[in-house]
């Protein structure tokens, strides 16, 4: 799927970013009233809502674990989220991303506090612009904290990739579609472990190491934004009443 695109001009990328620069990220916390926890993220052109329900009794019954809660993640993309209409409803891709999201978040949660329960995470992509799974995991982690679910730490996620034989951080749409590799990562910052690592494309061993380092750096930046967003919710309310 390679196309003749000039990825770099004067060392800057298509959208004017440096090689190790993230797109603009904005996170809002507590956007839904009915959900136990919720968040909204704008990551470049991505617009994603996330709602968390639970912990509550797990249904169907046979899914219950007697020693801990189960985590259910659903990823869904709106039919108008992409350039060409996406067929609404669950898809192969949606199920896969839901599964990897669950895998990325589960190691960070203290689910053993809630036996026989389930925690539901719903990720709704309203507008997609490359890197939705990372943005979704980032938003979901914030929403879980907003729901008051105990966890070891927040999970920031970010992608690295290869474009024009160069390792870059946080691929944009063109780089994702016509670049050489995409490497979405989710990090457990304190443990310094990755809970999500997928790869689409080719990377040599050295390039993979380089991409992981760059991705780790990006994740830590995202982590700061997550913390700020959570704190800001309570501080702005503070100022509003003064």
């Amino acid at each position: 799927m390679e196309k003749d695109i000039k990825f770099f001009t004067n060392g800057k990328r298509i959208d004017g970013r440096a090689v190790d620069e993230l797109r603009n990220i904005k996170i809002e916390v507590g956007v839904f009233k009915r959900a136990d926890g919720s968040s909204y993220i704008e990551w470049g052109g991505n617009k994603i809502y996330c709602a968390v329900y639970g912990p509550r009794e797990a249904y169907p019954r046979f899914l219950q674990k007697s020693d801990r809660a189960i985590l259910k993640c659903r990823y869904n993309m709106a039919s108008f989220a992409v350039e060409e209409r996406k067929r609404p409803g669950p898809s192969r891709r949606g199920v896969e991303i839901g599964k990897v999201t669950q895998g990325a978040l589960e190691p960070a949660l203290l689910l053993e506090n809630f036996p026989k329960c389930m925690v539901e995470v719903n990720i709704e992509v309203i507008q997609a612009d490359a890197g939705t799974r990372c943005a979704g995991i980032t938003a979901a982690s914030v929403a879980l904290a907003n729901a008051g679910i105990p966890m070891k730490e927040l999970v920031p996620a970010c992608a690295a990739g290869k474009v024009d034989d160069k390792i870059v951080l946080d691929l944009c749409k063109e780089e994702d579609n016509y670049g050489q590799a995409d490497l979405p990562l989710a990090l457990l910052p304190r443990r310094n472990e990755f809970s999500l690592l997928q790869m689409d494309g080719d990377l040599s061993e050295e390039q993979l190491e380089e991409a992981l380092d760059l991705g780790r750096k990006g994740c830590l930046e995202v982590y700061e934004i997550q913390k700020e967003a959570l704190k800001k919710k309570y501080v702005t309310e503070d100022v509003a009443n003064e």
Binding site: C117, N146, M151, K231
Partner: protein, 226 residues
């Protein structure tokens, strides 16, 4: 032993609070020699102990808590109550009333939808909740209404040594019962109930901001003078 955050500051999950051997209560987790927060909440540091009081989260029942629940279903010898916990609570006939003459029709005692003030008798190993409503303050709440708030903010509704609840009761002449699970039952004049409800919802929204009692008092005064 060193603290990495200030007392009473807001912490997010995963944030380091202190280093070294500390006694720690709830809301915290240990990673290597660091004590980290496990919830979004406010840190309290006292007598070389650390705890994080969560700002959000569901009610987790403890033995001895007083709760207000709604009957959702009737079993042969017990009722299932919704108390906003992750699990259903169970109220057995024997624990419901002091004397039960006839257990053939439990609907005559508590119907589905009835609001009940009860005490958590026990929380089992697999988190099943057993209630009891035998003695005087417990039982069915007739009339009135129930307002639901975050369980984590109930202490604010009560206030220091009950100052907030006293204020609400005195100024509006309403009967108020507070359940630890975030359900608050109010009975009084219609308009007064409205005022109390609004005040409680305000407390829920602004629970983490200091000077709450004064603000609530102001609101009550302006509303009552109308």
């Amino acid at each position: 032993m060193e603290f990495l955050v200030k007392d009473r500051s807001i912490v997010t999950p995963g944030m380091a609070i202190a280093k070294g051997p500390f006694r720690y209560e709830y809301g915290v987790d240990k990673f290597e020699d660091t004590i980290i927060s496990s919830v979004l909440g406010i840190v309290y540091i006292e007598n070389d102990g650390v705890k994080v009081v969560p700002l959000e989260g569901k009610y987790m029942p403890k033995r001895g808590d007083d709760v207000i629940g709604t009957v959702v279903s009737i079993n042969p010898l017990s009722w299932d109550l919704d108390i906003n916990a992750p699990y259903m609570a169970n109220l057995h006939v024997q624990d419901a009333l002091r004397y039960v003459k006839d257990t053939s029709n439990l609907e005559r005692i508590f119907k589905v939808g009835d609001v009940i003030y009860a005490n958590v008798r026990d929380v089992g190993e697999s988190s099943d909740i057993v209630l009891q409503s035998k003695e005087r303050p417990y039982g069915k709440m007739k009339w009135g209404r129930v307002v639901n708030i975050h369980a984590t903010r109930v202490p604010r509704v009560i206030g220091k040594k009950g100052s907030m609840i006293k204020l609400l009761k005195q100024m509006t002449k309403c009967e108020i019962m507070v359940g630890q699970n975030g359900n608050i039952w109010i009975k009084g004049e219609r308009q007064m109930e409205d005022i109390v409800e609004r005040a409680i919802l305000k407390i829920d929204r602004e629970a983490h901001i200091p000077g709450l009692t004064d603000r609530v008092k102001k609101i009550l005064e302006t509303e009552l003078s109308r």
